[in-house]
Symmetry: C2
Subunit: 252 residues, 2 copies
């Protein structure tokens, strides 16, 4: 059990830490029942409310879940695996086993919200897209849902000077989507850059993604380049970190 | 100002949210002075302690910093840019501008702790490294510091059956490091897989990385493969999310 000497945080937080560390160390695996309120009351000499709060912390973090009448159980981490690089060379390594157990079945992300507008480009977008002065962008905002839970917000920016009049400005971009339409227009994406960060969600992001306390978001900013390094799309994505593993495969 | 109707969280949290969102919206940029305690007291009709707590939240998140006698200022986000794929093709795109402003000067990561041991392989490591029964691993634990601040914990696992007797089992692995030594041994890494997740740090990780409240960690699990897809190293990395941007460049 973790030493809690000199730790000034509330007792229920310290008990939650102890349980979390035991889970991370593999002492409890997904599906295992965690110690109940009575167990925690005896082991830590605390009141029932404190024991309940400790278990509540782990539930709000998505690490554990309560099953009516049966107790609190370690949740399986069953994330989406997002392969950043879909390349032929990946196939030769695709059979390698992976570290984080992850469900790789085909699971469908569904778009449940889409909004397409023409807007003045935000400054940081305009700078990267090499827009003419007063150039506007086509903005495609989408939310993706997995098994009924929102997991991804994506906002794409494309120069209106390139995409005006194409299906990219409509909700349904047609077969092959935005990138196929960019190719039709003579701006086929041939190179991508993905930049990744992580931070706590804003209140609005937490609401839109249904994120529980203690879960960060992953930010991916993807820039698509056509020939000669011309940037043709920026896609700013916000992911529920508890729902994703990102994977990049590449040669030395 | 964000509406706070029906929000049951403490007032100082809501004020902190409002300020954070204003920073994210660009109303305050790095170096700007945030409203002071008196400003917040007037604007939100709260006590000085509440105003101080709100500013304290932003400081503990690393978003703002206090300057003695001058007030609280928006901190510059000055992360390390970690390029996951060092490939020739990158050069042709290297001059493209990037979304998140980031310092790309040469800044040196310094190893301030290193520990090399021989251990029984943790189960998830042994499974991936295709170890013989009772096979042990060489474990290299390192901590990396930038400008005096720990930013990265890295633990590498290599099959003892491959690396025994080589400099990989010593603190100093020699010129070119572990990968050069693996090449000497006939196991040159030719392919890599990086898997990325994000979550809140454990108490121990927060302590080792000096992470302030409200900052997540990024986990990278890198697997190095030699010819024929043979896994030769697993490197589990834990990064202070506030210190890093990860970048992956690749062709369509």
């Amino acid at each position: 059990m973790a030493s809690t000497d000199g730790d000034r945080r509330p007792k229920y937080q310290r008990i939650a830490d102890t349980l979390r560390e035991a889970i991370q160390a593999g002492e409890y695996v997904p599906g295992d029942r965690l110690p109940g309120e009575n167990d925690l009351m005896n082991a830590h000499r605390v009141a029932r409310m404190t024991a309940r709060q400790a278990l509540g912390v782990l539930q709000s973090e998505g690490i554990a879940e309560s099953r009516k009448g049966a107790g609190v159980f370690v949740r399986a981490f069953r994330p989406l695996r997002r392969r950043g690089i879909q390349r032929l060379s990946q196939q030769q390594w695709g059979s390698g086993r992976s570290i984080w157990s992850a469900d790789t079945e085909n699971r469908d992300l569904v778009v449940d919200q889409v909004q397409v507008t023409e807007e003045a480009a935000p400054e940081h977008i305009g700078a990267v897209l090499d827009l003419e002065e007063e150039g506007t962008v086509c903005v495609r905002r989408r939310r993706f849902v997995l098994d009924g839970k929102p997991v991804l917000l994506a906002t794409s920016y494309l120069p209106m000077g390139i995409v005006a009049g194409s299906a990219i400005t409509e909700e349904n971009t047609g077969p092959g989507g935005t990138y196929a339409r960019l190719a039709d227009l003579g701006f086929k994406p041939v190179h991508f850059r993905e930049e990744i960060r992580s931070r706590m969600p804003s209140k609005d992001e937490a609401r839109q993604l249904g994120i529980t306390a203690g879960t960060p978001v992953i930010l991916i900013c993807r820039t698509a380049f056509a020939d000669e390094g011309r940037p043709v799309e920026i896609n700013e994505m916000t992911l529920d970190a508890a729902s994703y593993i990102l994977e990049y495969d590449f040669d030395a």
